[in-house]
Structures are given as structure tokens and as C-alpha cells.
């Protein structure tokens, strides 16, 4: 029941919110508090059957949802973070990395795979929020760059699924430069007419939004996802006013003109396939 831990740990649901039943059988919706059978939730692409809340899921779940029969080949699986600045805050960055790797079973905050979507080849690179808030460090920049290069090599579309608080502060300016690196690769791919699909999920903020996530030929978003440059707390502190209801939701960003379409996760695969077919034929 790996998905259960991933979609809940430390993000939207605390352990207390889980129902007191045998492991992973029940799930309490963080939005409407309905109790759902975990197998029903999974069958519904981790979208609440009662209120349509899109649970936060990771790369494994997205790959399963997107690729035909869930079959895909992971790429660049062995990249791990360095510690270029020898960074220590309340604990050393290397220790934080090790602990997070042990806890999540992931190597960093993003994984890449290639596979077929209704028969069309697609390279997908997808963030894992559980890994230091999906933060962007050198590994994320490099893996996105390589995913784009792979798509250029195979002459197929590339997709980035974002779920990130933004920059990884422990890599400071190295993190900042990943905004440039990924955008450079997208510029190159653009010249070669490689389609790029960006899916913004809850949450997508900071340097991730201000680089590749906003640069899609198609900017897709999941319903009600938080999408923004500055985080809501920072904005509130700056302007010293309450924020309007629904501010920075996917729907708000669509109305502002920066997201092309909102896609329910249950229709994600078919919508993707539609786009891929339209571009190909």
C-alpha cells in the first residue's frame, strides 16, 4: 500500500486523520472528511468519490495512471543530490537527504519514465512532493534537462508533472540556475517542434512555476491546485490584506489566462492521448 503513505504523509493528512482500521484500508478525505475505502479511492485515480478532491500523489501513481497498462521504463533513475555548498541549517543537508531517501524510498524529488499513452510514445518526468516538498535542486534540473533531450532524440512529446514548493534552498544559487537550465532545454526543444506538456498540480509555486511549469505548449492543471509565483503567506504578509477566495487556484489561474485547461485526473490519460493524436495527425 505504498500509495497510501505517499498520498498522505506529512502533506494534507496527518496520521491522526486516518481511520482506526487495519493499515491502508480506509482513507479520510482531507477536504470533505468522508471515509473512503482505499481500493475505491485508488480505482478513482485518488480522487475523492464524494467531493472530487484530488489527493496528492507521487510519480509512481501518475505513471500508473498515464501509461498503457502502467508499463513504462524509468530513465536516469540513479541520480542523487550532491551538496555543492556544504549546507547546514538546523541539520546538515546530506543528513536530510539520507533521512528523506530512507523515509520515502525515493532518490530525489523527481522521476522520469518513457512509455506509451494510448499507443503514443511520451517521456514524462514527475515530481514527488514527499521528497523535501518537491523542491528543485540540481537533480531535478538535470533530470528535466535529460527528459527533454530524450524526447528530442526520440522525436516525441515530453511532459513535466509539477508538484513543488519551488527552489531547494539548501542548493541556493545552484537551485536558482536550474530555472535557466530547464528553460534553455525547452528553448532548444521548441526550435525542433518537440511538443511540451506541462501539468501543474497541487501545489506548484516559486521557481518551478517561474520557469518550465509555465512554459508548456499546453499548460494543464488539476482542479483546485494551488498555482502561483509567490506563496499565499508571502503575499499576505507583503500586502497586509486577506487574499480573495479561490486566489491562486487552478481555476483562478485559468481565468487569468495562464493555464490552458483544467483536467480532472480521471480524464488525464484520455485528454493526453487526445492532444498527442492531434499533434501527430
Amino acid at each position: 500500500m505504498a500509495w497510501f503513505k505517499r498520498s498522505t504523509a506529512g502533506v494534507t493528512t496527518s496520521t491522526e486523520e486516518k481511520l482506526d482500521v487495519p493499515d491502508g484500508l480506509w482513507f479520510k478525505c482531507p477536504s470533505c472528511k468522508a471515509s473512503l475505502l482505499s481500493k475505491d479511492l485508488k480505482a478513482n485515480k485518488f480522487v475523492c468519490t464524494q467531493c472530487n478532491y484530488h489527493c496528492r500523489i507521487g510519480s509512481a501513481e501518475y505513471f500508473e495512471i498515464i501509461f498503457d497498462e502502467g508499463q513504462c521504463e524509468e530513465l536516469d533513475a540513479n541520480l542523487t543530490s550532491g551538496d555543492p555548498l556544504n549546507f547546514t541549517d538546523t541539520k546538515p543537508y546530506v543528513d536530510r537527504l539520507k533521512a528523506t531517501q530512507a523515509k520515502t524510498g525515493l532518490k530525489d524529488a523527481i522521476r522520469t519514465a518513457k512509455g506509451l499513452v494510448e499507443g503514443e510514445m511520451l517521456v514524462v518526468t514527475c515530481m514527488d512532493f514527499d521528497f523535501i516538498g518537491g523542491s528543485m535542486g540540481s537533480v531535478m534540473g538535470e533530470k528535466i534537462a535529460r527528459a527533454i533531450d530524450k524526447a528530442r532524440e526520440m522525436k516525441c512529446p515530453v511532459m513535466v508533472i509539477s508538484k513543488s514548493g519551488g527552489a531547494r534552498m539548501m542548493e541556493a544559487a545552484f537551485s536558482l540556475m536550474q530555472m535557466a537550465k530547464t528553460s534553455a532545454k525547452l528553448a532548444q526543444a521548441g526550435e525542433e517542434q518537440i511538443p511540451y506538456i506541462s501539468l501543474l498540480t497541487d501545489p506548484t509555486t516559486g521557481g518551478v512555476t517561474a520557469s518550465f511549469a509555465m512554459l508548456g505548449d499546453f499548460n494543464l492543471a488539476e482542479p483546485n491546485a494551488l498555482i502561483g509565483f509567490a506563496g499565499p503567506r508571502v503575499i499576505k504578509e507583503t500586502i497586509k490584506k486577506d487574499l480573495p477566495k479561490g486566489f491562486q487556484s487552478a481555476e483562478f489561474v485559468l481565468e487569468s489566462g495562464f493555464v490552458d485547461l483544467i483536467v480532472d485526473r480521471k480524464e488525464l490519460k484520455s485528454k493526453l492521448a487526445q492532444i498527442l493524436r492531434l499533434l501527430k495527425n
Binding site: 544559487a173 528553460s183 532548444q188 509555465m214
Partner: protein, 317 residues
């Protein structure tokens, strides 16, 4: 003269100097010798002090209220400046300025953050925090420079892109993202200089160039030391520690190969002798432009992309 906290010892010497000068003026005694001795001592101490600034102290120098800003540099280095306003879409952002100017007879497109020189102007310039229309104006000007084959120079000095409701509505993230991507493909030479604060996306939004320089006492990172302290240490009290941890000084940025060079400041910081600073900056721009002229547009673009793509440190098992 406004002194920073760490300049206290020098401030005291200046006060002493003022007293001596007063004595001299009133003709009470001949203190010429003492004055010149004291002046020498001030210079010596200032030099020592500035040779060993910490990260946090450099952050303070970079924010000094008397520091020269974009418009000053353009005025000092160039003639025939024609400022161009507006993004032809929403409005004119006062936190980013730009226009053509003549640098030693050559037309260059200058674009830069602009902070205000007094309380009223600081507000007018929104403290150098641009809105999306600022980044879109910048891109419009860059595209125009490209159209007419003129090189681009950007001056970066911002505490960050503005985090506001309207900025979000008008696509702050999209504006910055687009600039970064488009700057890679510009056919003309692009030189970027951090002249004050280089904070995060707001900085790199006009910061992709064939040459990226930092003035000696500036900082460039993904977050300010104060915000970093508040997020990672959950307290505002660790800004000095955060400044060190972020390795945000010109020296460390060059060591990490994240910038191409450091432009020295006069002793005491750019604000102590702004004319000297402007001349040093001008010489560096002329040198770099000559180097970049010698390359083809294709070669420049390729090198620009390769340089940024090499940034990052990771292991591969």
C-alpha cells in the same frame, strides 16, 4: 555620508576628522598634519575592513541607500539615452527601466532594475520589485535590440519580483519564465551585471547572458538571507548564518562557476566613489562586448546554453 553598522569604527574616525577640520577652519591651531594622518588612517582602516567583509555585511553594502542604480550608470557611461516605457500590453513598470544609449559611440540596449533615491522615489520604484509588465517591457526591449542588431546590457538590483495579488493575476511566473527562455535565443550579445541585490526569480528574469558579472559587494541567490532564516531556522535571527550558508557573495558565486566574473568596487563600496565605479563597469562592458563581437550569433547562443546547462552538482551511481 550614511554609515553601516559595521562601519562604526570608521564613522568615529570621520567624526574626529570633522572636529579637526573645524579647529583648522577657525584658525585656533594648525592641525594640517593631524588631518592628513587621520585621513590616511581612515583609508587604511577602511581598506582592511572592506577586504574582509562577511556575506551579511556585503548584503548590507549591496542595499546601501546611496548606492548607484541603473539610471545613474547609464548617465555616467553613455550619451544619447532614450528611455522607452511600457510593455505595450498593460502598463509601464517603474521598477524596471530601459532604453537605447550610446556607449562610446555604439548603440546598446540597457535594461535594469531601478530603485528610488529618496523615500518618495523608493515607493515610486516599488523598491526595485518589478511586476509582470516590468519583465514584459524588458523582453520587448530585448526583442527590439535583437531586431536592430544591438547588444543588450542588463543591470540587476532587486529584492525580488513583487509578490502581490495583481502580479499573480497578470502572470508574474509566466513573465519571468518566458524571459528566461527567450533570452537564451537572442542573437545579439547579452551581458548581465548584478549591481546590487540579485534575489531569485526576480533577478534571473533579466539575468541570462553570455557574460554574467557581479559587482564585488553584491549578492545573488535563490532567497534573501532573512527569508532563508525565517524558513529554515523558523526565526529571523539567523540571517548572518543564512548569508554564509547560502554562499551568495560574488567570490563564492565565481568559485562555484555560477557567474563569469567579478567587477571590483572602489574601497568603501560602489557608493563611496560612484564615478569610479561607473568607469570600471564601463571598461568591463567594452572589453566583454569586444570578445562577444568576435563570436557568431550561433556560437554565442550555443555557448550561452551550454554554460547554464553545466550548472548543477549531482552524483550518478
Amino acid at each position: 555620508m550614511i554609515f553601516l553598522e559595521f562601519e562604526k569604527p570608521i564613522q568615529e574616525l570621520y567624526e574626529e576628522l570633522d572636529k579637526l577640520k573645524e579647529i583648522q577652519e577657525k584658525g585656533k591651531a594648525d592641525v594640517t598634519k593631524s588631518i592628513s594622518e587621520l585621513e590616511q588612517r581612515i583609508e587604511k582602516e577602511r581598506k582592511e575592513l572592506y577586504a574582509n567583509l562577511t556575506g551579511w555585511q556585503k548584503v548590507q553594502v549591496s542595499r546601501h541607500m546611496e548606492r548607484p542604480y541603473t539610471l545613474y550608470y547609464i548617465e555616467q557611461m553613455c550619451s544619447d539615452f532614450v528611455e522607452i516605457h511600457g510593455d505595450r500590453c498593460f502598463g509601464d513598470d517603474k521598477a524596471i527601466v530601459g532604453g537605447f544609449a550610446s556607449l562610446e559611440g555604439r548603440t546598446v540596449m540597457f535594461i535594469g532594475h531601478q530603485k528610488g533615491i529618496n523615500t518618495k522615489m523608493r515607493q515610486y520604484r516599488n523598491f526595485g520589485m518589478a511586476n509582470p509588465e516590468g519583465y514584459r517591457k524588458a523582453l520587448r526591449l530585448m526583442k527590439m535590440a535583437e531586431k536592430f542588431g544591438k547588444p543588450i546590457v542588463t543591470f540587476i538590483d532587486t529584492p525580488g519580483a513583487f509578490p502581490g495579488i495583481e502580479a499573480e493575476e497578470r502572470g508574474q511566473a509566466e513573465a519571468i519564465a518566458r524571459n528566461i527562455k527567450e533570452m537564451f535565443m537572442l542573437k545579439v550579445p547579452v551581458i548581465c551585471v548584478i549591481v546590487g541585490e540579485g534575489a531569485s526569480g526576480g533577478a534571473i528574469g533579466i539575468g541570462v547572458g553570455d557574460r554574467v558579472f557581479m559587482l564585488e559587494n553584491t549578492w545573488y541567490s535563490v532567497i534573501s538571507p532573512e527569508s532563508c532564516s525565517s524558513i529554515l531556522w523558523r526565526s529571523w535571527d539567523y540571517k548572518e548564518v543564512a548569508a554564509d550558508a547560502l554562499k551568495l557573495t560574488a567570490e563564492e558565486m565565481l568559485k562555484n562557476k555560477l557567474i563569469d566574473g567579478i567587477i571590483p568596487e572602489p574601497v568603501g563600496g560602489a557608493h563611496s566613489q560612484p564615478e569610479v565605479m561607473a568607469q570600471t563597469l564601463k571598461q568591463q562592458l567594452l572589453t566583454s562586448l569586444a570578445e562577444l563581437d568576435a563570436m557568431s550569433a550561433e556560437k554565442r547562443i550555443e555557448t550561452r546554453i551550454d554554460k547554464f546547462c553545466a550548472m548543477g552538482e549531482f552524483h550518478e551511481a
